[in-house]
Amino acid sequence: MSLLEIKNISKRFGGLQAVKDVSFSVRKGSIKAVIGPNGAGKTTLFNLVSGFLYPDVGAIIYQGVPINGKDPYEIAGYGLSRTFQHIKLFAHMTALENVMVGCHVRSRAGFLAGMLNLPWARREEQEIRDKAHAMMDLLGIAHLSGAEALSLSYGQQRAVELARALASSPTMLLLDEPAAGLNMRETADVAKLIARVRDLGITVLIVEHDMSLVMDISDEIVVLSYGEKIADDVPRAVQTNPEVVRVYLGEDDA
């Protein structure tokens, strides 16, 4: 059963066709990866799904509801939570506070409840705090909770970002190049984390430049080249797909 369905979406920036008539679906409980060389349209596709861009044509259906044309905060409300290729943590806030913002979408105290410090809002605030602690525990970064987020190492920041995304209790996690800027050991750690996320029952859509990360953990892989889908299959089949080999190794390769 597919959780997310992408139907014939296209996106053009002036003269550049960034994404061209791409369709695929993501099965519930699976890890699906989108790979491709630089400039293949991966990040554009990702921004289309998460609401940062609107498709020119086509539809994005999540749990039977069209979400194309909705704003990012609305899409977060549907249970899709994302991370960023260039980590975007909140400056001047601790790691814990960053993760607590992740709970925003699943809580409801507004301006009035906050200003009046109503009892139910205080209880909700405590639940948010507990949930954030639990998420940091889960990812093994509980000891970082009091540190200012931007003072952490790159790998730690990735983990905080992931905890923040998980704190929103997503049904689907969108990971934008989670291995970017990490060394091999850190990449392996990230792979383990992603597998653990899937074991929590959360579907994962991952955009990645690095083949080695996705080959091990993905259930299915979509390959993009110049904005078009050239393959959509299990990792083994993708690896031997002549079109994919040509794109990755170059056509002049003898």
Binding site: S50, G51, F52, D71, P72, Y73, A76, G77, S81, R82, F84, K88, L89, F90, A91, H92, M93, T94, E97, N98, M100, V101, G102, H104, V105, S107, A109, G110, F111, A113, G114, M115, L116, N117, A121, R122, E124, E125, I128, E148, R164, A165, S168
Partner: protein, 358 residues
């Protein structure tokens, strides 16, 4: 945890009472007049601090909202509808106590809007205008937002300066007292000086309690997240446009309410209250108080407004605030309420980490 948040509040209350007692003992009660005015100006500045320091949105037009509050109240309470006294709707509104009979300074009988009704209209008007202005303007960022709000401030200034009904360059005088309880009103009479001082600071204390609660709530965290990384906060489910707009409207209403009460206290309002230099002054105070520190902003607001109102800066008044803004931006972008003091405040309140790491 919760009681610690209120230690600074209790300190504020204690200081307010102490200052009043000291002025009484040393027979300098006339200081209370400037301290009352300072309280109303502080109301604008702490609202602006929420907008600038927490939501990260600048406004160079807040004197405009102050003027909207003050002028609305001044116009409505100095109206004379006595010629329409027999009209059905005037009689009805009088019965509802929205209109009221009173005498002006020269003993003429007038029928004008009751100050309470005028205050409500002023606050609603500020809400509506800040909503209408905020929707397009808050889509802008950085310099563009500053320019757009500056433009709004200039428009309001031009309107009050150029409209006969608003008294043009003279402003509006003869604004009646604002009745609070029988025998107690917001007005400049020296017999009511102490009461007015306490009422003004009661308003500031109430506003501080509400705002301090807000910044420690889910909404306050979302506002700081918008400041920290706007698109990431949007991706985490924060309706950034709505939160920025609500904060803008909240700070506009605070400014308008300050305008209403200061106008009744002074007995009038003039166009200088709407001038751009006033808006710049408010921004300067937020900057010098350390953006993102409500208490630092309040402390600096009291010091600077009081000195300014006592005339210590003389003819250099506006230049002082301009210079402060330049110096702060150059040498102490985090404000001059030192990080030590803010750490201390942070220690009193372990939940407020922002005071330390700003």
């Amino acid at each position: 945890m919760k009681t610690r948040r209120f230690i600074p509040i209790l300190t504020l209350v204690a200081v307010v009472i102490l200052v009043q007692l000291v002025t009484q003992v040393v027979a300098k009660e006339f200081y209370l007049t400037q301290l009352t005015m300072t309280a109303y100006y502080s109301l604008i500045v702490i609202g602006l601090c929420l907008l600038m320091g927490f939501a990260g949105q600048i406004s160079l037009g807040h004197a405009g909202f102050f003027a909207i509050g003050g002028y609305t109240s001044a116009v409505l309470t100095t109206l004379d509808l006595s010629t329409f006294k027999d009209a059905v709707f005037v009689a009805l509104l009088t019965k509802l106590r929205i209109l009221t009979d009173r005498q002006d300074l020269y003993g003429h009988a007038l029928v004008s809007v009751h100050p309470w009704a005028a205050c409500i209209v002023a606050a609603l008007l500020a809400l509506v205008i800040s909503w209408a202005i905020g929707i397009p303007v808050l889509k802008l960022k950085g310099h563009y937002l500053a320019m757009a709000t500056l433009g709004f401030g200039i428009i309001i200034y031009s309107i009050v300066l150029g409209t006969q009904r608003f008294g043009a360059a003279d402003g509006i005088s003869g604004v009646p007292p604002f009745p609070l309880l029988p025998g107690i009103s917001v007005s400049g009479g020296s017999s009511l000086r102490v009461l007015n001082y306490y009422f003004a600071w009661l308003l500031v204390t109430a506003a501080m309690i509400l705002l301090v609660n807000l910044i420690h709530s889910r909404v306050g965290r979302a506002l700081r997240a918008i400041h920290g990384a706007e698109d990431a906060s949007n991706a985490m489910g924060v309706d950034t446009a709505r939160y920025k707009l609500s904060t803008f409207m909240l700070s506009a209403v605070l400014a308008a309410i300050a305008g209403v009460f200061l106008t009744h206290f002074n007995g009038g309002i003039g166009p200088s209250e709407a001038s751009i230099i006033k808006s710049v002054r408010y921004v300067a105070i937020v900057a010098v108080g350390g953006m993102g520190s409500l208490w630092g902003t309040l402390i600096m607001s009291v010091v600077l407004n009081f000195f300014s109102l006592r005339g210590y800066f003389g003819t250099f008044d506006d230049a002082v605030f301009g210079s402060i803004l330049i110096l702060i931006m150059l040498f102490a972008p985090d404000g001059i309420i030192g990080s030590d003091l803010r750490k201390l405040i942070g220690k009193l309140n372990p939940k407020s980490q922002m005071a330390n790491n700003k």
